[in-house]
């Protein structure tokens, strides 16, 4: 374990006194030149970086009215100060959303407002110098772009947008984050974040088919690159690789099987995650989204369904059509895109699946709302569907379900601590500390209701919890996939 103290779990949430600069040392590894160049950025810090950065900032505020309004409208009311999990977990005041925004806003004021140009000292306008760039690199990689602060901001200022813009500016001058940018490059060349080539994917899926058959006696296919299938499943590559993710993938396969739906995975678009969003890069986001379109056309599918991945769902739900549309070749009778939870929910509503809830009687469940699903998208055709539908799927699969406290669920959900491109070992201190509010909420559900397991619908959340639960005295396997519960409960065979 690393050399920092895991915060103590308190019986109720406490806003910590500030400790200035305690997280200034937290910086992710910088991407090497070849990683940067591969995805269209300069390999290292460009000579006239200050000017390039300021010009880029101007371009971004010109192109995004939202960003400009976020920068202009903060009245320093303080409503956001105690809303960020990274502030609550680290006590560093630069992790208060308003302070994080001000790292960007002060430079914007200096160069793009009248008062800031002439009276910088009076309006908190500052230069983007080396010290400021260091602060940017540190603190814009301490924001998981979860948007919890924006829920409480009376002006709706979205720190995630500001973080994305800051990261894009840093990439433009040649300073990128290794974790995100290496992954984006891999996904663009191989088709997924892990770099799983087609033969490895095939071997893995065949292995899963064997496992299911051994366990249930039923042949359930996990087809790869199957032309003419109706549904293209786009899921995070962690679903092929990691636990408990893979148990969720098995769950999707069983749902498709039992509903008699023809489906396939594509080796070309074997990744739902789109890290282009984390670095605010529209161009990179588009390249990744285009692969999904290409795969859908190539395989001739009629529908696109996304697996359990938080930010993928945000990108898909909000931007897929703009990035890679129009999808007029798909069946208009189905929503585009569709979430696997929506698919399962619809089937459950129609009594098309038989579920034995007692299969999960060894567990008492709670549900972690993933930020990008909770605050940046929706499921179903009714308000709040993104909260109702995953819970309905869980409750159809088990007898014992309890929610965590209201300040930590639904639109108020706390980030797992590893979202937004921060799920990397070089940020483990931040990840552990940032998960404190979620761990306190979980502890409360454990104490009040005897909760044993927390279900999630995001690959990042699942990996993050597997890693950090032990720091807080829990077991790593106390996080489960939502479709893992479905997988346990669904009755295979019989009439479809």
């Amino acid at each position: 374990m690393a050399d920092f103290d895991t915060p103590a779990l308190k019986p109720y949430p406490v806003i910590p006194p500030i400790e200035i600069g305690v997280m200034a040392h937290s910086k992710p590894y910088v991407a090497k030149p070849e990683i940067q160049q591969k995805i269209g950025f300069p390999g290292e810090l460009v000579d006239n970086w200050q000017q390039v950065a300021i010009d880029k900032m101007g371009e971004l505020v010109d192109n995004s009215r939202a960003l400009r309004v976020f920068l202009d409208s903060c009245v320093k009311c303080g409503a956001c100060t105690d809303k960020c999990h990274y502030y609550l977990g680290t006590s560093d005041p630069n992790n208060m959303p308003v302070a994080r925004q001000d790292l960007f806003r002060s430079v914007y004021r200096r160069h793009y407002t009248l008062a800031g140009k002439y009276f910088p000292g009076l309006v908190g306008a500052r230069e983007l110098d080396q010290e400021m760039l260091d602060d940017w690199y540190s603190y814009f990689h301490q924001c998981s772009q979860c948007r919890r602060c924006s829920v409480y901001c009376p002006y709706g200022i979205d720190t995630a947008e500001i973080s994305m813009a800051a990261r894009e500016i840093m990439d433009t001058i040649g300073i990128g984050q290794k974790y995100c940018n290496e992954i984006i490059g891999k996904a663009q060349t191989i088709g997924n974040n892990l770099g799983l080539p087609q033969p490895a994917l095939l071997d893995t899926l065949e292995g899963l088919e064997e496992d299911i058959e051994e366990e249930t006696g039923v042949t359930v296919r996990l087809p790869l690159d199957q032309h003419g299938a109706d549904i293209l499943l786009v899921t995070p590559s962690a679903d092929f690789f990691a636990e408990p993710h893979v148990d969720g993938l098995i769950g999707y396969a069983k749902v498709f099987h039992q509903a008699g739906l023809s489906w396939t995975i594509s080796s070309h678009a074997s990744e739902a995650a789109n890290f282009g969003m984390f670095i605010g890069s529209y161009d990179n986001m588009q390249i990744l989204a285009q692969r999904i379109r290409e795969a859908a056309l190539e395989l001739g599918v009629k529908r696109i369904v996304f697996g359990e991945c938080g930010h993928a769902w945000r990108v898909a739900y909000n931007f897929l059509n703009t990035l890679a549309g129009p999808f007029d070749f798909l069946d208009p009778n189905y929503p585009l895109p569709q979430h696997i939870c929506e698919v399962t929910y619809d089937l459950l509503q129609r009594n098309a699946l038989r579920m034995d809830k007692s299969a999960n009687d060894d567990k008492v469940l709670t549900f972690h709302d993933s930020c990008n699903v909770a605050r940046a998208s929706r499921m179903g055709d009714f308000e709040g569907g993104q909260f109702v539908i995953p819970r309905a799927v869980i409750q159809a699969s088990c007898n014992h379900f309890y929610d965590m406290p209201a300040h930590a669920t639904k639109e108020a959900t706390f980030c797992c601590g590893g979202g937004g491109g921060l799920l990397t070992d070089d940020l483990v201190e931040l990840r552990v500390k940032g998960s404190l509010p979620r761990m306190e909420a979980l502890k409360q559900a454990v104490d009040d209701y005897g909760v044993t397991h927390m279900a999630a619908i995001c690959a990042i959340c699942k990996s993050q919890f597997s890693k950090i639960l032990p720091y807080y005295g829990f077991e790593m396997d106390q996080v489960v996939s939502v479709h893992q519960l479905v997988s346990n409960a669904i009755q295979l065979g019989g009439e479809h």
Binding site: E182, I183, N193, T204, L208, A242, D425, D426, A459
Partner: protein
Amino acid sequence: MSIELDGKSYETDEEGYLVNLSDWNDQLATAMAKADGATLDENHWEVINFLRDYYEEYQIAPAVRVLTKAVGKKLGKDKGTSKYLYELFPYGPAKQACKYAGLPKPTGCV
């Protein structure tokens, strides 16, 4: 960064993974483990050798489930679990074992 062994220097990335996969040898694996305060016994080597074989065939580390299944077949079902692998490699079988096996670190949401 680099690892020094027997007067030779082997380049690694920031996290200690070998940059040139062809540099790998048994002694290097032992040295990397030693640097983490770990000693490799035959059970570790079973996993490391499997990882290397798999990588040679597929150009990627095996998924955790592929690994547990292979270990279970070789060493008995009770050892074909991620719990057993975490006992061997407490920092995570995918990451720590890959490092000692000279493979790149798995990337992504894992």
